[in-house]
C-alpha cells in the first residue's frame, strides 16, 4: 500500500458527507412547502432560549453527574491501549491494571459513599 492511497477513503467520505448534506439542503429549499412562523424563523439553539441573562439556577446534580462521568470516562480510556499490548506485558501488566482500577474504584466508592450518585 502506498502512502497516499490510505487517504483516498477519507476523501471519499468527505465527498459523500458534503454531497448528501448539500443535496438535503438544496432539495428542502426547492421542493419543500414554506409556511414561516415566528418560532421557525428564530435562531435555532437546541430548544434553549437563544438570548438570556445568566441568572437562572442550574441544579448542582447535573454538574456533579457530568463531572463524575467525565472523570471515569477519561480514566477508562487507558484500558484501550492496555488491551492492545496486554499479551506482551504479561502478568505484570495485569497487576498494574488491577492497581490502577483499584485506585479508580476507591474514588468511585468515595463518590458513592458521599451520596454523589443519588439523584436528589
Amino acid at each position: 500500500m502506498t502512502s497516499g492511497s490510505e487517504y483516498v477513503g477519507i476523501a471519499v467520505s468527505f465527498l459523500l458527507a458534503a454531497g448528501i448534506t448539500g443535496a438535503m439542503v438544496v432539495l428542502a429549499s426547492t421542493l419543500g412547502r414554506k409556511r414561516p412562523s415566528l418560532a421557525k424563523s428564530g435562531p435555532f439553539e437546541s430548544g434553549k432560549e437563544p438570548f438570556s441573562l445568566p441568572r437562572g439556577k442550574l441544579a448542582i446534580k447535573f454538574y456533579l453527574t457530568a463531572i463524575l462521568f467525565i472523570l471515569f470516562d477519561v480514566e477508562l480510556v487507558f484500558l484501550y491501549p492496555w488491551a492492545v499490548v496486554f499479551r506482551e506485558l504479561g502478568m505484570v501488566g495485569v497487576a498494574e491494571m488491577a492497581v490502577f482500577l483499584g485506585i479508580l474504584m476507591v474514588g468511585y466508592v468515595y463518590a458513592w459513599d458521599s451520596g454523589a450518585l443519588k439523584w436528589q
Partner: protein
Amino acid sequence: MNGASMDDLALLIPELILVSTALGFILAARRIENAHMATAGTIFAALSAASASVWLVSDSARTAFGGMFIVDGYSQFFKVLIGAALALTALVSERRIDVESVRPAEYHALLLLASTGMMFAASAFDLLTLYLGLELTTLCSYILVGITVERPKSNEAAIKYFLLGSFASALFLYGVSLTFGATGDTGFATVALAVSENTLRNNAVLLAAMSLIGAGLAFKIAAVPFHAWAPDAYEGASAPVAAFLAAASKAAGLAALGRVALDAFASPSGIASGFLIGLAALSISVGSILAVSQTDMKRLLAYSSIAHAGYALLGFISGTTEGASATMTYAFLYVFMTLGAFGVVIALGKRGESLDGYQGLAAQRPGTAALMLLFLLSLTGIPPTAGFVAKFVVIQSVVSTGHWMLAVLAVVCTVVTAFVYLRVAVLMYMKEPQTPEEPARFPTAVSAALAIAALVTVLGGILPGPLTRWTDSALAAKSATSISRNVDR
C-alpha cells in the same frame, strides 16, 4: 522498559506508604469522625515515609523506571524534610479541623496525596515524572485552599490559585515539549548531555525551553514575578493549609528547581545562573518591600515567604554542590521557622489573623509572645537563631562566586524585613491589649508542633554542624553518581 519490576517498586516505598494511607482515608471518609485518629494516621504515615526514605539510600544513587526516578542523598534529604513538614502540618491542623466543618479524613487524605507528589518530584529524574509529581501536589493544594467551602474568601482564593496554577503548569509543559524537540528526550541525563554539547546561547529552542520550565517552577516556589497567587491564596486558605503551602510546597519546589538547574540545564556559560539571579534579586526585594504595608498576618507571612524563596535561590546560583548544600540548609531551617510562625497564628485563632490582634499579646500570653518573637527573629535572620545560619550560608555562597551586588542587596533587604517582623514584636511587647483575653488553651497537638519548631529553630542556630554535614554528605553521593552516569554514556 518492560513494566515495573519489584526492585523499581521498592524504591517507591515512601510514596507508597503515603498513597495507601491516603486511599484508606478516602475509603473511610465518612466513618472517621475523630480528628485525632486522622491526625495520628497522617503523622504515622509521614514518619514512616521519612524513615523509609532514610533506609532506602545506599552509598550510590539508584534509578528506577527506566531512569525516570532516582533515589539519592538529595531526594532523601528533601523527603525527610517534606515528611517532617507534613507531620507538623497535621499537628497544627488539630485546632482548625474542629472549628471549620471539614471532614478530617478528606483533609488529611489531601495533605498526604500532596506530600506524595512532593516526594515524587524530589526524586524525579525526568521532566515528565517531575511534572507528574508537581501536578499531583498542586491539584491537591487547589482543593485544600478551597476546602472551607462556606467561606467565600476561601473559594475565591482557590479559583485564583487554580487559574494561575494551570497557566504555570501549561508553561512548564510547553517547556518540556520544546526540550523534547531540541534534545529528543525528557530525561535529565540526556538533556544535560545536549546542554553541555551545544552551548545554550546558540540554541534558541533549548533556551526558550529552559525559561518556560524555569517559569513554571518559579511559580511553585512563588518567586517574583510569578508570585501573584501567593498572598491571595494564603489569605483565603485556612491557616494550616497556608502553613503547608509556605513550608512543604516551597521545599518541594526548591528541590525540583535545584534538580533541574544543577542536573539538567547546568551550562558552563552560566545562563541558568543568570536566570536564577534575576528571580532571586526580584523575589528578595519585592517580597521584602511589599511585606511592609501588610495588615493581615497571613498576607504578611506570604510576602515573607516570597522573600525567603529568593534567599533560598541564592545558593543555586553558583551551580556548585557547596551552593546547593547552602540552599538545602536554608530550606530545612526555613520550613521549621515558618511552620512555627504559622503555628502561633493558628493557635491564636481568629485573633492571630490580623496584625492588630498581636497588640499587647506579651502581657496576656507571655509564653506565646516569646515563641512568636523567636520565630520572627529567626525569619529576620538574627543570631543565635536558625534564620541567621540559613542567611549566612546562602549569602556566603553568593559572595564566594563573586556576585557582590546580589549579596549587598540580600543584606539590605534583610534590614527591610527586620522592620516588618519587628513591627509585630513591637505590637506584642509595647502596646496595650486591645482584644479581651480568651481563656482557651491551645490543643496539645498545636503546642507539641510549636515546641518542635522552636527546638529546631534554636538548635539550628546554635549547632548547625550536623545539618550542614548532612547536606554536604547528601550531595557528595549525588555528584559522584552523576559523574559516573555521564561516563557510562
